[in-house]
Each structure stands twice: as structure tokens, then as C-alpha cells.
């Protein structure tokens, strides 16, 4: 890091009253004149307090800020459950074609055929990939996809007058969005434990399922990094009890092209396109969480969906009249359209064979990495299991011996230029890392990662302080999270000047 003076300022601290990026000032109107038709009481009198900076200051500030991020474009980023694979620049460019960027969401069908054609094709492709009857693209992330799916389950039971089903089963290892979603949809959450080998405890499941069961939300492969081997039995148990099966598709990358949730008996699912379909995460979104449904749930899909007129070949949004059982709309327009366009590009470039290879090589990379780490003496959470696209290692033994925690190890890894795997998730494995290399990383990178881990373990054994106080080479040292929550500082408080 250079000894720069202005390096850690906020954009507000670079502000100076009366400065502006003048090329961006598009008019020279007088407020009082222009707003004469608006009563004074409804007009703003207070200062707005936005920064007053030049265009160069903005460009320099945010360019320099960006340099403080790790990112796929710079670093190996094996964040478990997040599928940080390469985000094709071609997809970004295609989604940025002016025709797509400038299309207004309420544009008439006459000026929407290009966009709608892509969306129609994407619906079909995702249905084929997942083995579902129909797909709605509209949910804006995984969690909203879950909401749509669970709401569809609810709507289905209600449509049959089956109002007693008030419980949603969720495995203990599930991602937090699953129980949170079930509650948002009005369900009571009943947790199902996972057994020692990472599978759902079938006996427990049988004990908990019943006429009160609306359904089961399952991630498969699970967040334990293993494939749910009893899936067919599980499906049967739940279905026999009249419940429905929800598939959390966040981990689809592990099996994409190799096995399909629809074939496993799932009734409804969501996909995380910002994982499996390589759309960029953007430092926290946007995502896209399309939902797919089996034949019995297809009618309940959220809208709008795109239909093609068989005769003219023209595309249009389905009208509400055509989909009376739909759970309706989850966003003002049709969700994160630009993310969908990117996913469409990706799916088209991959095609049938490419889609199959995703799961194949995601699994190969994860299993190879797991095996290398096993051989290097790291503790696997499920040593007897295959890795899927990810796997878990635990630092519990190391922690007991040296006091160096999984978090310390993660922070130290940053010094080596690798992003840390997911830490402390799933919660049931103590001091764990969930490691997901993805299929787009090469062998040399995996080997370099193993080498770094071995080195850091040496450091933990012989110089634990070094690891406990890591990172040492980043723009900031270890940050105080407790202080952040205690002395809440969410908004910079300096009196606004304009």
C-alpha cells in the first residue's frame, strides 16, 4: 500500500461547496421559476448534502476504491455455496446492447420482440435443464425464488381446500433463507436433523411428516457438500404424506447436466442464475432466482411469463386472464431482466454439451481439491463421502492445539491472494470451511491453493500470532465487528453544506 494521503477519504471529504462535474449538468434552470406550480410547503428547503466533486475526483475515487476488493477477476474465490465461477464478459456485453438497455419495461410488444424472444428461450432451456414443466423467470434472487416456490406450494394446497398443512420441513443444515422464507409464507418451520454422513435423517423425517406437512425444502447437494443419497425415499415419504418437495437450486452447479431435480421428484424449485449461470454477483447482487414447476404446480407460477403465438411466432407477456391461478407478481416489472439476458447468453454458449460439463468439472475440481487436502492431512467433515461441487474441512483440532480458528485461517489466506472459503457454515460442523472451487479454475490454481494452506498451517503451528492477527497485507488490518455493532455508524455525519 502506498503512503497516500487521500487514500482513505470518503467521497464526502473530497467535496467542496460549489464544485460540480459540470459536463453532467444538463440545464441551467432556476428552481423558483421552474417550480412555481408547486406549493412552497411541498418543495424542498433543506440542503441535499450530496458530495460536490469533479468528474476526475469521482473516477479516481471509485477506481481506487475498487482496487480494495477481491473479485473473481482478480482472485481465486472458493466461497462455498456461492459458485464464484468466471462471469463471461460476452454476457456482459450482450446485455449491454443499446436495444436491451434502452427497452422500457412497459414498451409495446412491437418494440419488445428481441428481448421477449430471449426470455422465452431461456424459460424453455431452464425447464429442460431442471426437468421441470415450466419456468417463470421473475424472482429477483434465490430468496425470492424460494418465496415464489413456497407460495406456490401454499396456493396449491389452498386450491385443493387442504388448509391443514401449516408446517414446512427444513433440514438443520439448510441455508438461512429457507426457514426465513417459510415464515414469510406463513408456515411454521419444523427442522429435520442431518445424520453423521450428511444425509437427511430419514427416520426423523418420517417421524415429523404428516397431514400438517405442507412440504419439505431441500438443497441437493446439501450445504454439507454431499449429495442426498436418499432423495428418492425422501420424495416418496413427503409425497405419500401429501406434502410437496421444494428444491433449493443454489447448489445446482454440482449436478448440472448430470441429474435433474425434476427427475428426483421435486415439485418446484428455484435456480440461482448468479451462481450456476455465471452472472456476476456485483458485490451483493443483482441475482436472479427463476422458479420451475412440475406439471401440477405450473399453473401457480408467478408472472409475467413470456408466451409465443404459435401462428405468428410473435412473443408476448401472458395476460393475467390466461393465468388465473398464478401467485401473481413479485416485482414491479419482470425481475432482474438484465441478469436473465446474461444467463441466456451463457446457456447458449454452453449448449447441451457445455451444460453437462459444468457439473462434471465442478465435481472434478472439488473432489481433486478435497483429495489433495486429505492427503495433506486436513480434516474432512465427511471423509467417506464424495465431494460434490464443494466440501467441508474443519479446523477444530488445529484450533484446540494452537488457538487459531477457522476465521483466523481465512483471514490469513487473504494475505496469500486467495479469497477465503465460506466460514462457519453450515453451522453444524465446528470451525469449518465450505470450499467450492468451481469448474472454471485451473489445476495450477488449485495446487497453489493447497500449497498456501499447508504453509498457513505451518504458520499456525509455529507462529500462531501471525495468523491470529491476519490479514497483514490488505488495505485494513483485522476489523472490529463488535465495535461496529456497538457504536453503530451507518451514515457519515457531517453537516451538509448545500
Amino acid at each position: 500500500m502506498s503512503i497516500t494521503v487521500m487514500d482513505s477519504q470518503l467521497i464526502f471529504e473530497k467535496s467542496r461547496r460549489g464544485r460540480q462535474a459540470s459536463a453532467q449538468v444538463t440545464a441551467q434552470l432556476e428552481a423558483d421559476k421552474a417550480l412555481a406550480d408547486i406549493p412552497a410547503a411541498l418543495r424542498r428547503r433543506s440542503a441535499v448534502g450530496l458530495p460536490e466533486v469533479s468528474e476526475l475526483q469521482v473516477v479516481r475515487h471509485y477506481t481506487n476504491l475498487s482496487a480494495k476488493n477481491f473479485a473473481i477477476d482478480k482472485n481465486f474465490y472458493p466461497l462455498g455455496s456461492c459458485t464464484m465461477k468466471y462471469n463471461p464478459r460476452g454476457a456482459h456485453k450482450a446485455a449491454s446492447f443499446p436495444g436491451f438497455l434502452q427497452r422500457h419495461p412497459l414498451a409495446p410488444a412491437s418494440h419488445s420482440q428481441g428481448f421477449l424472444a430471449c426470455m422465452f428461450d431461456l424459460q424453455q432451456m431452464l425447464a429442460e435443464v431442471t426437468g421441470m414443466r415450466a419456468v417463470s423467470l421473475t424472482p429477483m434472487a434465490g430468496a425470492q425464488g424460494e418465496f415464489a416456490g413456497v407460495a406456490m406450494i401454499r396456493a396449491y394446497h389452498q386450491s385443493r381446500g387442504d388448509l391443514a398443512r401449516q408446517e414446512m420441513l427444513v433440514p438443520t443444515a439448510a441455508h438461512g433463507t429457507n426457514p426465513a422464507t417459510a415464515v414469510m409464507c406463513g408456515y411454521r418451520v419444523v427442522e429435520v436433523p442431518v445424520d453423521a454422513s450428511g444425509d437427511v435423517d430419514l427416520a426423523e423425517l418420517k417421524a415429523k411428516v404428516g397431514p400438517q406437512t405442507a412440504g419439505l425444502m431441500l438443497t441437493n447437494p446439501s450445504t454439507c457438500g454431499v449429495f442426498e443419497r436418499n432423495i428418492l425415499s425422501i420424495a416418496q415419504v413427503v409425497h405419500d404424506a401429501g406434502g410437496l418437495l421444494y428444491y433449493d437450486g443454489a447448489n445446482l452447479n454440482a449436478i448440472m447436466g448430470q441429474a435433474r431435480p425434476g427427475d428426483m421428484g421435486f415439485d418446484v424449485l428455484h435456480l440461482n442464475l448468479h451462481k450456476t449461470f455465471a452472472t456476476p454477483h456485483g458485490g451483493g447482487g443483482p441475482g436472479a432466482g427463476p422458479v420451475g414447476a412440475s406439471a401440477r404446480l405450473a399453473a401457480f407460477l408467478p408472472g409475467p411469463c413470456v408466451a409465443q403465438d404459435k401462428i405468428t411466432g410473435r412473443y408476448r407477456f401472458q395476460a393475467a386472464l390466461e393465468t388465473p391461478q398464478s401467485i401473481g407478481r413479485l416485482s414491479a416489472f419482470m425481475g432482474n431482466a438484465g441478469v436473465l439476458v446474461r444467463a441466456y447468453f451463457y446457456a447458449r454458449v454452453l449448449g447441451r454439451e457445455g451444460i453437462k460439463r459444468v457439473g462434471e468439472f465442478a465435481a472434478l475440481n472439488a473432489n481433486y481439491l478435497m483429495q489433495r487436502l486429505r492427503e495433506a492431512g486436513f480434516d474432512l467433515a465427511y471423509p467417506e463421502r464424495r465431494a460434490t461441487h464443494e466440501f467441508i474441512i474443519s479446523f477444530q483440532a488445529l484450533q484446540k492445539k494452537t488457538g487459531v480458528s477457522a476465521m483466523d485461517m481465512a483471514k490469513r489466506l487473504l494475505d496469500y491472494g486467495f479469497h477465503a472459503p465460506t466460514t462457519y457454515f453450515p453451522l453444524l460442523i465446528p470451525e469449518c470451511w465450505l470450499i467450492e472451487p468451481t469448474e472454471t479454475e485451473d489445476l495450477d490454481t488449485l495446487d497453489a491453493f493447497v500449497k498456501a494452506l499447508i504453509t498457513i498451517r505451518e504458520e499456525a503451528l509455529y507462529n500462531p500470532e501471525l495468523v491470529k492477527t491476519a490479514p497483514h497485507t490488505l488495505p485494513v488490518k483485522r476489523l472490529d465487528d463488535v465495535l461496529a455493532a456497538k457504536q453503530l455508524d451507518l451514515v457519515w455525519r457531517q453537516v451538509a453544506t448545500v
Binding site: Q28, D73, R103, F115, A180, G284, P286, A332, L364, V491
Partner: protein
Amino acid sequence: MPYIPHTQEDTAQMLDQLALSQTQDLFDEIPLSLRSPSLQNLLVGESEMQVMRQMQQRADLDRYQLSFLGAGSYHHHIPAAVWDLVGRGEFLTAYTPYQAEASQGTLQVIYEYQTMMARLTAMPVANASLYDGASALAEAILMAVRANRQTHAKNILMPDSVHPLYREVCQRLTAAQDVVLHALPFNPLTGQIEQAVLMQFVDMDVAAVVVASPNVFGVIEEVHALTNWAHQQQALMIAVVNPISLVVLVPPGEWGEKGADIAVGEGQPLGVPVASGGPYFGFMCAQQQWIRQMPGRLVGRTLDRHGKPGFTLTLQAREQHILRSKATSNICTNQGLLVTAATVYMSLLGPEGLKQVALASHTNRQQLVAQLQTKGFEILFSGPSFHELVVRLPVAVEPVLDHLAQQGILAGVALSPWFEQFPNCLLMCTTEVHTVEDLDQLVQQLAQAVAKIAAVPVRAAELFGV
């Protein structure tokens, strides 16, 4: 193998390490019956060049010359620097900033964003974004229900002048939690909420009142009176606002005597292209006291081991990954990149630039109203308005829109699918991107189209059909 780097030797070496003979063996824990689906309905993969060309051709189908569409998504000029910066791989391809030390770029951006939104709305705190304006409103309603300890009832007053698509989304997202949305009619002359009707709700336990201003017609509501009334009723006030309007209109934090409790809205006008409706972002600001009920991520400023300031996600104990079924919301991935765009946009525009955008948008509306009136068209709603307007045509709207679309002009949104009581009405929007010539061309073409349709009213749809 697109985007997969393995050579045959790599694969062989890796399988060797695993003592496997083929990659298929990696899937031996999957029941055999499930393995290797044919995927026959997928096309064969094509190169970037081929797919790009096809998509370019498709995208070109959707181009037009002029657009006056608004209704929740607005055409503003986006400075070139915005997406050049936002598109940098460091912002684009980072995950949610869980490892704070390796994510100071994104985290500082969000902290700056939170500050900007708080200042723009004159509210004390802001979160790091929700999906879009509509879902942000739904989350605000759920938050208000949680926050309002004065009542256990889940009654929400939801004016008809709130964007109908927002109302639909709120209905969808809140119904399972037993929230009841009570409609509030608007005055058909002013386009504002009919305050007299509020009397009906004086005895109801109301958790929150929603007010959108400008509302779906672009009309500015009597926000002070409405806010004071809500507070008298022990109800929370939820403001739905257009961020661009806030540089010229009284911000939610200054509504009534105490200010709105929660302010939400669609962030798209702040540097995000209209792009078929997304990705956009919903913003949410609130009074300090409600912060622990807020959904979504929050970034806080803290110190590192050496006492240097830095940024980190905070108050995560509200969120699904910690609280699980007790979380404030299920939201996880949100709209980080769009927030980055908004932050850069607001920095580039600054208070003066943003004010000029608002003033030009508004001035163009005045201009358009005057020109339409000159041509004899009736403008609905006498309430003060911001950058949108409703005009009544003497003929049906659809053929007129079709006719104009054929000239490459997207003139507005037909109102009757949302408001049956307003047939022949068109919702139009002006912004700073429109020139005097654009307005002239619009009005001229509109008048011509109306004249034509009026002349052949019967078969109009066929004549100018889609």
C-alpha cells in the same frame, strides 16, 4: 469446453489422484436412474461470436426513436463514467462483502450510498438495498407491522394512487403474514388522496399508512397533513418517493411534524438503465428507532486493529443467515451493483446536477402540458405534479399508441388496464433527455394519429394493428 480450462492431461491427472477412471464415477452417489439426462431440447453450444451476433440482431429489434414511457421506470441520462466504473471487474465480480478486509471497496461504496440516501430523504439511516421499489414497499409494510408496538393489528392503508403494480406486489408479499391492505381512494379531479375518506379509519387499528408522492399519476400528495394524521393515529408513515424528485420536493424526513417513519422507493432513476425493468434496486430509509426491524444489509464504519477506520457488515443478527426463521426478512443477495451505480451517479451529478435533472424534467412536463392543451387535449388532475402527466384522448388509446410506435415513438402507457375509470387516457413522462424538438415531434405526431383514428374509428385496430 467453454469456460472450463482443463486439458485432457489435466483431467487424467486429476482422476488419477482420485483413483478414478472417468469423471462419471464422481457421481456414483447419485441413484443410477437419475443420472445423465439427455437434455435433448437444448441447442448445441455456439461461440461467443455467434451468440453475440444473434443477440445483437434481437436487441436491434427493440430499438426506437423516442420514448415518453415512465410509470415507475425513467429515462435519464447516465453519465458514461457510471458504468465504466461500475463495470470494473473488482465491483462486478465480487461477492457480498463477507470478508470485510478483502471487500473495503464495496463496503465503503455502500457506506457512502447509505449516507447519500439518508441525506437525500432527510432520514437518519438507510439500508444497503432491497430488490426493487415494489418489493421495498412490501418490506416496509412488514417492517412497520413489526415495529409498531402500539397495535397487533396488521391493517395498512394503501392508497389507490400508489402504483398498481406496487400494490399487487405488496398484496402478494404480505398476504401470507395476514397483513390487510385497505384501499384509500383518490380525488378524480386533483389526483390526490381523498382526505375526507380518512375519517372512516379513525377507529381502526392502523399499523401504517402508505403515501406515494409523486403518486402513479405524477401528482404530489398533501404529505404533511397525511403524515400528521397517521401519527395522530399511532400509525407509522411509509413514504414512497422518486429519488430524483427529492432534490426539489420536501423529503420524507420532513413530512409533517415528525417526518415519515420509513421511506422507500425505486432507485432506478439514479444511474440505472430502464433495461426491461431490472436489475434496479429498492432503497429503504428509516428513523433510527426502527433500525433493528429493518430488512436487508447494513454497512457500518468501525476500526481495525491499528485503529484505522474501515467498513464492515453490521447488525447481521437481524438477518436470515443468523436468525433464520426469526429474521426480519428472507432477503440475502440484494442489488449491490446497482447501488454502486447510484453512488457514482449521485457523486457525478451532485446537488446541482441532480437539481437540474429534476428541474428540466419538470419544465419539460410544463411544456408538454401546454402544448397538449393548445392542441385541445385534456390534462387530467389538477394537483401539483412532477414529470408525469395523464392526458385524455378523444379516441381509444391503443391504436394511437400503435400508430406512434410505427414512427418509432413510444408515447406513453395506457391507463385503463390499471384504472378502468379512465378510458382513453395516457400516462406520459418527460425527463431531461427530451429536447424541445422531441416534444414538438411527439405532440405533432400524436395529434396526427388522433385525427387519423378519429376519422376511421371502427377498423382502427386493424389498420394500425400490432
